[in-house]
């Protein structure tokens, strides 16, 4: 190794053509005079070559069939999901739940709205006879008006 040898990670990047122009030129110049770096570079290129010659596999006979089956399953799932969604993006179950909640509220409030008159209605129903004689009862208090009674007595 001579002084100022290239860092191995730079040599690796040089192999990949990833060094900047000036840095790459420095490496090239260094390689001319450094046998050790040249050997390292040759080793890297050889193992890359080995790697590139690695045998390729062909897709298995069943690969396409099983893939398109998965695609169909995905589309089916998406189709169901689409049915669940209304055009403005609201899921149907959410909408149905909303209606159910509204219905429950309507029933509860309707029931509560009828309750305050219930006692009066019962009272009125129980005293219907008195109401029939309302005119008579209305004038009963006159009899309790002592001034009037006194006047009546004096007149008589």
């Amino acid at each position: 190794m001579i002084k100022g040898c290239i860092k191995e990670e730079d040599l690796s990047a040089f192999t990949d053509g990833e060094l900047s122009g000036p840095k790459s030129r420095r490496v090239e110049e260094h390689l001319v005079n450094c046998l050790e770096c040249r050997e390292k570079l040759a080793e890297m290129k050889a193992s890359d070559g080995l790697f590139r010659s690695f045998a390729e596999v062909e897709p298995s006979a069943d690969f396409d069939r099983s893939f398109w089956k998965k695609v169909r399953e995905l589309e089916d799932t998406r189709g169901k999901a689409r049915w669940f969604r209304l055009p403005w993006g609201l899921p149907r179950p959410v909408l149905a739940s909303g209606f159910a909640v509204l219905l429950v509220f309507a029933l509860v409030f309707n029931k509560e709205a009828g309750q305050p008159v219930e006692k009066e209605e019962v009272f009125m129903a129980e005293h219907m006879e008195l109401l029939n004689e309302f005119e008579l009862i209305q004038h009963l208090d006159l009899l309790e008006d002592w001034e009037t009674i006194k006047d009546m007595k004096e007149n008589t």
Binding site: E9, D16, F51, A55, V57, F63, S66
Partner: protein, 192 residues
Amino acid sequence: MQNDSDIQLMLSFRDGDKNAFRELYDKHKKRVINYCFRFCGNRSVAEDMAQETFLRVLKAARRYEPTARFSTWLFKIASNVCLNELRRPRYRNPTESLEEEREDGKEGFREAVTSDTDRDFAFNEMDSVVRKALGALPDKQRAALLLRIDGEFSYREIGEQIHCSENHVKILIYRARQQLKETLALVKGESI
């Protein structure tokens, strides 16, 4: 980048042309299978990974925007699938040696290297040695090296694909090469 014919196909698919997706699938499936195969060392797992990659492409089509080469995007998805898959417990057995067999019979990279693939295909001895050496690399180093040597992606593209900086990619690839060299020497020595 807009001239990339694959991008045009993907945009057509995004706009509803199903044949465009079929064309992309036919064009890239072998490359993706081989990437996954080199990544995991098991053909059936690799095919599952490749199918998952294309299914993700299909799912992501509506949101697709051409911000990089189509192949960069495709192999980013494939790398995510591979890295996630190998994080699952069934593939995790870091203390195991290259030659050991697992008692539970489940196959990880190392077993697959010596069983499934050799059983199914007549790979030559050197392929077997390279597969062993690849299997010994940490997942991210293996991904970076494969994307560089096999996919011929730039460091910047690889950084996008495996979510790290360009400089980190440089280190990953350098370390992968170093370890590959050592493992190759070791495995060659063992096989002699």
